[in-house]
């Protein structure tokens, strides 16, 4: 006999029902507006231009060119064994050739100023997974990580959702270009302690998202001193390291550690990914690089939940260990991003809009505070909605990045053609001109 269903449906977990996945943030609302009315040069010239997606599309030709000339290394060849070995390979240490290639590439991105040991590379499916995994390892539910504002909205999900860990912001101000100060670090730490929350680490993004600027060496040293004093961890998300316009303006935490002879390095961990520098977000290639042996071992075990497809490891292994190719790629990629940046900065300047002085990343940090009705988040969101619906540009409001000052917006410039960027700039120009009247 069939059972009648009259009981209430079964509960899902608290994690499932919480909103910490973060998708109700305006960061994602803009994406929806774009999805419904996407710009297209020919088919939809009045559609929404996507400037909220930090993608790097400026250097694909270089990748495609490499693949065309290196077919044998990218494909499995004619032997059955080539495919079979690759398809069967599920060792969480990863393909040795690929780990070596990643270490080599990370060194190239830093111009050889830091060395990376392939044995310390742990592979994860994207930086998203890497950041969550590290959080599981470094902090217990209820503990906190200190994160400088403004920060990448995805951290709210990656660091907190399933881990139960909290984020306590390190407030940064426009008065000093949003740089992290020792006072701000101490204030954040004290604030956490006053709420009886245990702080387990500091997480920085260098170069910064959404600021589009590298962290100065002096500041890195101060942060390192701070975490050492407090005996906590330091996670440096260096996902945009290859997107610094001038190679010598990016200083990795790895360089600072090396100069200190790796003293106290076991509290330091680097996150990297190929999603931004190489423009391969779909391939899910992330890594945790830790100077702490136990973290490496544990992270490796945890990576079972989020391994990189061996097919993708195989494809990228030869490409990334080809130093001639990577050097050329990194150099040209930097130049093209710099050119894009200058284009957007000048275009915005002509419209009377200032941006934070940036030197890295796939976006600029635009200051629209002079145009706000009032210096409030509500005003910021009001102008953001206007820009979305009237100007038809999807940009990211600073409040979704937890910026403490309203009026700042992240505007991406590397995920479109130059022509589209021109269209976007002319729309902004028109919008500002109209507003001034």
């Amino acid at each position: 006999m069939a059972i009648e269903i009259v009981q209430p449906s079964v509960e899902l977990s608290k994690i499932a029902l919480s909103e910490t996945h973060g998708e109700d943030s305006p960061y994602f609302a803009g994406w929806k507006a774009y999805d419904e009315n996407p710009y297209h040069e020919l088919h939809n010239p009045s559609g929404v231009i996507q400037m909220g997606l930090a993608e790097n599309q400026v250097s694909f030709d270089l990748l495609e060119e490499y693949l065309e000339s290196n077919l044998e290394s990218a494909n499995w060849g004619q032997k059955v064994s080539g495919f079979r070995e690759n398809a069967l390979f599920q060792d969480y240490h990863g393909l040795v050739s690929f780990r070596k290639a990643m270490a080599s590439f990370m060194e190239e991105v830093r111009g050889g100023k830091a060395k990376f040991n392939p044995e310390r590379i742990v592979l994860t499916a994207g930086a998203t997974a890497a950041n969550e995994l590290l959080t599981f390892i470094l902090a217990n539910p209820g503990d906190a990580l200190l994160v400088p504002t403004p920060y990448y909205p995805g951290f709210d999900r990656d660091l907190r959702w399933r881990t139960g860990v909290q984020i306590v912001p390190i407030h940064c101000e426009s008065s000093n270009n949003f740089q992290i100060t020792p006072e701000a670090l101490e204030a954040a730490y004290d604030h956490a302690r006053s709420m009886n929350i245990k702080v387990k680490g500091v997480l920085i993004t260098n170069p910064s998202n959404p600021l589009g600027a590298t962290i100065q060496r002096k500041v890195l040293e101060e942060i390192l001193d701070f975490v050492t004093r407090k005996n906590i961890h330091l996670v440096s998300d260096e996902i945009y390291s290859g997107s610094a316009f001038y190679a010598d303006e990016f200083v990795s935490i790895a360089e600072v550690l090396e100069s200190r002879n790796y003293k106290d390095s076991e509290r330091c961990h680097i996150v990297y990914s190929l999603s931004k520098d190489l423009g391969l977000p779909g391939f899910r290639v992330g890594t945790v690089y830790s100077y702490n042996d136990q973290v490496v071992t544990t992270a490796r075990r945890m990576s079972s939940f989020t391994l990189i497809s061996s097919q993708t490891q195989f494809l990228l292994a030869s490409m990334l260990s080809d130093k001639e190719f990577t050097r050329k790629y990194i150099k040209i990629n930097r130049e093209r991003l710099k050119k894009r940046y200058e284009m957007i900065i000048n275009g915005l300047k002509k419209a009377g809009i200032e941006c934070l002085k940036g030197n890295a990343g796939l976006f600029c940090w635009m200051n629209l505070s002079p145009y706000l009705e009032e210096p409030t988040i509500e005003s910021e969101l009001a102008i953001w909605k206007t820009i979305m619906h009237e100007v038809r540009l999807n940009i990211s409001p600073g409040s979704s990045c937890h910026c403490s000052e309203p009026g700042w917006f992240r505007v991406c410039f590397a995920n479109m053609s130059e022509e589209t960027l021109e269209v976007a700039l002319s729309r902004i120009h028109e919008f500002i001109t109209t507003r001034k009247q």
């Binding site: 899902l12 996945h21 060395k115 499916a125 999603s275």
Partner: protein, 526 residues
């Protein structure tokens, strides 16, 4: 100079008393740099420096399931270079049909984004990071899942959610369906990886539903109720039941009546049912396998569909564990939605999605592959069980999986798990086969071993069978001789021998040069 790297994981010494690890590197050869010493001091403080999750045993690698792998890693069998090495029979891989796949790959260069034919897709595929996945990927998976089940049931591509392998799928579902401290019921014996996948980072508990050899390890309603009640008594809230169908390690599948009983049970208790159907394509008896999807189709009002979730993967049916193609298929809209958001932590590489989409949407290939795979698995399975039966080794009757559940109870000195472990070490060190002891699967009865058969070529199969048959023969010969000797021996010599044996460290006994069977004392008596 960056600090020295950690030694590879499998050479760590695990400080457990129950599982004696094959200590493969003598202590003196590990040089301790100053940095290392500092690290060790730091290590003592790490239980506060790192999280509880990082410092507990939840990773599960202290199980004997992995110890055997270590033995294999240090002495792997190879026909030419190491013919006396350990044969890996502890890894449930499907290597029987790569020729078919290779042929397809050769004929379809457009499936790869790295060939001239497929290269124009490169940019689009590389940029695509939408957690819905490529639509063609989802359709292809739905199509494949249907055909694996003889097209008796359809799957909705919109309910397909990606995950980092089935490993990621199980963890994600645990995060979605249960809170920290709550529990899932799992019939024993079960795949050891579940202890890590469902519990480690989630804090969820697993409560065994004990199954017995007396009824071929079938899951009974009594056992379910018993487990449920035990949980209640311990104040643990049960949120779901997890079954693997076909079963790992048993290699059997659930009949329709049992499935209906299970569905009735979870519906009455209002708990979830997670069906891991990762081995669905390894069923050798076509049309006999019943998927939970078919039960829902045939009896739509049997339960609240919101309680039913399927885990799938291409790791076993296709033999693609490296590609990390895990799938959650849920009949619960909210779970689909949430699991999809969580899939950001374990998406399938779009390069792989693209290839899989091409391959699995070609019905001729798919149908032929499923058929051939089934035939080859059946052939392999029959070869083993037939040969083993000849030497009196039985196994649980099964028609699925990449392994069989071998009955070695009569080889144990005593019906205890200690005996099982002792015998298992003998199998590894003397017969040189890595098989998996039933205790690592939480089997309630000692003497059962899971033996994988699809991860080797035919020649290796012959060697493995030979070794087993030799061992059985030798054991029988030895039993006869030993019985004869014991009758004529003096009492004091016996005591002496036993003392000598017990005073040696187990490591010595495990080495090939010395074993009770080759005791110099016994040899001297011959």
């Amino acid at each position: 100079m960056p600090p020295p790297p950690p030694p590879p994981s499998h050479l760590y010494i695990y400080p457990t008393t129950l599982h004696i690890v094959l200590n493969l590197i003598p202590i003196t050869s590990i040089s301790l740099s100053k940095h290392q010493i500092e690290m060790d001091i730091a290590l003592n403080n790490t239980h506060k420096f790192l999280s509880k999750i990082a410092t507990n045993d939840g990773h599960g690698e202290n199980s004997p399931y992995f110890d055997g792998w270590k033995a294999y890693d240090t002495d792997p069998f190879h026909h030419e270079t190491n013919p006396s090495g350990v044969i890996q029979m502890g890894l449930a891989e499907n290597q029987l049909c790569f020729d078919l796949i290779q042929e397809w790959i050769g004929n379809h260069p457009e499936a790869s984004i790295c060939t001239p034919q497929g290269g124009f897709d490169f940019k689009e595929i590389a940029l695509f990071q939408d957690y819905h996945g490529l639509p063609e990927f989802r359709s292809a998976i739905a199509n494949f899942m249907s055909r694996v089940r003889g097209s008796r049931v359809e799957f909705d591509p919109d309910r397909i959610v990606m995950s980092g392998g089935a490993t990621g799928a199980h963890e994600t579902l645990a995060f979605c369906l249960a809170n920290r401290g709550e529990a899932f019921l799992v019939p024993t014996p079960y795949y050891p990886g579940f202890d890590r996948d469902l519990k480690w980072r989630t804090g969820v508990e697993l409560i065994p539903v004990v199954c017995e050899s007396s009824n071929n390890f079938k899951v009974t309603l009594e056992a379910l109720e018993d487990a449920y009640d035990k949980a209640k008594e311990s104040n643990i809230k049960v949120k779901g039941l997890l079954i693997t169908n076909p079963s790992n390690p048993l290699g059997t599948f659930y009949d329709k009546e049992t499935l209906k009983t299970l569905v009735g049970f979870i519906n009455e208790k209002n708990i979830h049912l997670v069906c891991d159907e990762i081995y669905a394509g390894t069923v050798t008896r076509e049309n006999e396998f019943v998927s939970i999807a078919e039960v829902l189709e045939e009896f739509p009002t049997i339960c609240d569909h919101n309680l039913i979730h399927i885990v799938y993967s291409l790791s076993k049916d296709m033999g693609f564990p490296g590609f990390r193609v895990g799938i959650i298929y849920s009949y619960n809209d909210m779970v689909v939605n949430i699991a999809r958001k969580m899939s950001s932590f374990g998406l399938v590489s779009t390069q792989t999605q693209h290839m899989v989409a091409s391959m699995l949407s070609e019905n001729d290939f798919v149908d032929n592959f499923i058929k051939e795979s089934r035939n080859r698995l059946a052939h392999r399975h029959n070869m083993f069980t037939r040969e083993l039966a000849q030497v009196g080794i039985g196994s649980l009757e099964s028609n699925a999986g990449l392994f069989f559940w071998m009955d070695l109870r009569r080889f144990l000195k005593e019906p205890t798990f200690e005996s099982e472990m002792t015998f298992w070490r003998t199998i590894i060190s003397e017969i040189k086969l890595n098989v998996s002891p039933g205790s690592s699967f939480h089997c309630n009865e000692p003497g059962w071993f899971r033996v994988c058969f699809a991860n080797m070529d035919d020649a290796t199969v012959m060697v493995a069978l030979e070794r087993i048959k030799s061992f059985v023969h030798e054991t029988r010969m030895l039993e006869i001789k030993t019985m004869a000797k014991i009758k004529t021996k003096k009492q004091c010599w016996q005591n002496n021998l036993q003392l000598k044996l017990s005073s040696r460290r187990l490591e010595d006994i495990m080495s090939p040069q010395y074993s009770p069977l080759n005791s110099p004392m016994l040899r001297a008596q011959n």
